[in-house]
């Protein structure tokens, strides 16, 4: 691995700076993201996750203290134009379905590519690709009115709108919240596919750590505007006390491992999934039950 694509050091940000209503959202965030990586960003509400990701495509810029480099550019430099960056770093906001504005699904997804000034055929191709990626059938949905879509379909259409820019980095802010289990699974499958097959760098912001299994190689925990923990998914899973202290839920399988350890039965590794837990526990019980 060469240089980190994104590097933040002691990043700080204050909303409404210089007014009596100033709110310090980031107090010192360290983050490094390498190209082609998939990382999870977790933290309780108010930790500064959304403020941080808005820095990562240049919507917010470091003002006074802290540094942020993206692709070798110092984002604290006011001369740096962030707009070209946004074509390569796609940011999907919370409740992205609220931002749909065209009447027809296809038109909305085509908005980004059209803004890029791409030729008609290319735009159409990208819309088709993006819709297939998110699991919306091109033929059936492209000319459907946005209002006729269900909540989950709208979410997917909105994500397709960002995918159609074909960003090399995709950031999703709480993208799975409010989706039903199937919608959640499909979205996470999509992200895995984008990461593995297209080599897209993925940054997934979530409060559900289970979302990160099988996707994120590394997890960064944010709390109170600071980076409080960083490590592999398993390392972070193992820090149940720290997670709880910051108001985060501990994944169930990690709790099982913790409960067993408290009873003197220490597992060789922190289980991430039900299957891993089974592999750890079944031999100790002297049973082999194959697949659960």
């Amino acid at each position: 691995m060469s240089e980190p694509f994104i590097r933040a050091k002691g990043l700080q940000y204050t909303y409404m700076a210089g007014t009596p209503l100033a709110v310090e959202a980031l107090k010192g965030v360290d983050l490094e993201v390498w190209p082609g990586e998939a990382i999870g960003l977790i933290g309780p509400a108010g930790a500064g996750k959304s403020t941080l990701v808005q820095h990562l495509n240049g919507l917010l810029r470091p003002r006074a203290r802290g540094q942020l480099w993206i692709d070798g550019q110092d984002m604290g430099d006011p001369r740096v134009d962030a707009r070209p960056l946004r074509r390569r770093i796609g940011l999907v906001f919370q409740r992205p379905e609220d931002q749909l504005f065209k009447t027809l699904v296809g038109d909305d997804i085509a908005f980004g590519p059209r803004q890029l000034g791409l030729p008609r055929e290319e735009v159409r191709e990208r819309v088709r690709w993006a819709m297939e990626m998110v699991g919306l059938d091109f033929g059936a949905f492209v000319d459907r009115p946005v209002v006729s879509l269900s909540g989950g379909e709208r979410r997917r259409a909105a994500i397709a709108g960002t995918l159609a820019l074909r960003p090399s980095t995709l950031i999703l802010d709480e993208a799975t919240s409010g989706l039903d289990p199937r919608g959640r699974r499909q979205l996470l499958d999509l992200l895995r596919r984008l990461h593995r097959e297209e080599g897209t760098t993925v940054i997934l912001v979530t409060t559900h750590m289970e979302d990160l299994v099988g996707l994120a190689g590394r997890v960064v925990v944010l709390a109170g505007g600071r980076t409080v923990l960083e490590g592999s998914l398993r390392e972070v899973y193992g820090q149940a006390d720290l997670l709880r202290r910051h108001g985060l839920g501990v994944p169930q399988m990690a709790e099982v491992g913790e409960a067993l350890a408290a009873r003197g039965c220490r597992l060789s590794r922190v289980p991430l999934t039900v299957q891993e837990a089974e592999e750890e526990i079944a031999p100790r019980l002297g049973v082999s039950c194959g697949v659960v």
């Binding site: 946004r86 940011l91 609220d98 931002q99 504005f101 803004q115």
Partner: protein
Amino acid sequence: MESFEVFRHVTIGQYLPGESLVHRLDPRAKITVVLLLIAAVTFSTSYTAHLALLALTLGLIALANLPVRYIVSGVRPALPFILLLALMQLFVYGEAAASAVRGSAVLWQWGVLRVTAGSLRLTLVSLARLLELLLLVSLLTNATPTTSLTYGIESMLRPFARLGLPAHELSLIGTIALRFVPVLGEQFETILKAQASRGANLRFGGRLQFVRSAQQMVVLLVPLFLNALLRAEDLILAMEARCYGGGRGRSHYVRLRLRAPDYVAMALALVFTAAVLAARNALP
């Protein structure tokens, strides 16, 4: 560098919590005082009166512990227009001002441009008025939560209910509207950022490309209005679900009661305004 903090510069109507005497006054007393002083500001044309008014309003702002810099920063976006208007008043309005306001002496003339004592006075007084009005409105809205402001207005309008004025409904509409200003502002910012993330070029055309600017606004306004309407529907349902009736016989959690400081404040404002208005043509 683009800035997405659009509402940073909106200072009027932004409640700043505090414990000052001004914060603690009854909203009705504050509204009365501010209305009286606005009358004084509007009707006086003398330099002396405006110096006194400026000193008074700044004193009140200090009493309320409000940051003057923050309040004044609210006019920054409008500054070019204000200056343009002031210059036009000063140079072009000379003749009319000479007859309308005291002072027809020509101070400076060049072609059609003419500065008279009257136009100079008009310009300076207008600028002073603007500043005083800004300070007064900020004094009211920055030191009073919107809910107590609307309760105050409702209570002051109640006598007119006999004449068929729907005081409660009006104040409810006011409360809801004010309550949703920051919500919609925040939403607008989010939509702005989200569309910028999707590649929207939000430079709003050039200064003269109105059509392009309007087209780009669609990207922002359609989602904003859609969300506002959905939110309004939710609000209606929530109010219905709690059997909100409003209107007559409805009590409030906080009872407004005028106390001694409220009466003193109103009396002082009344005396001051009466004095300024009575002497408005006698003072230089």
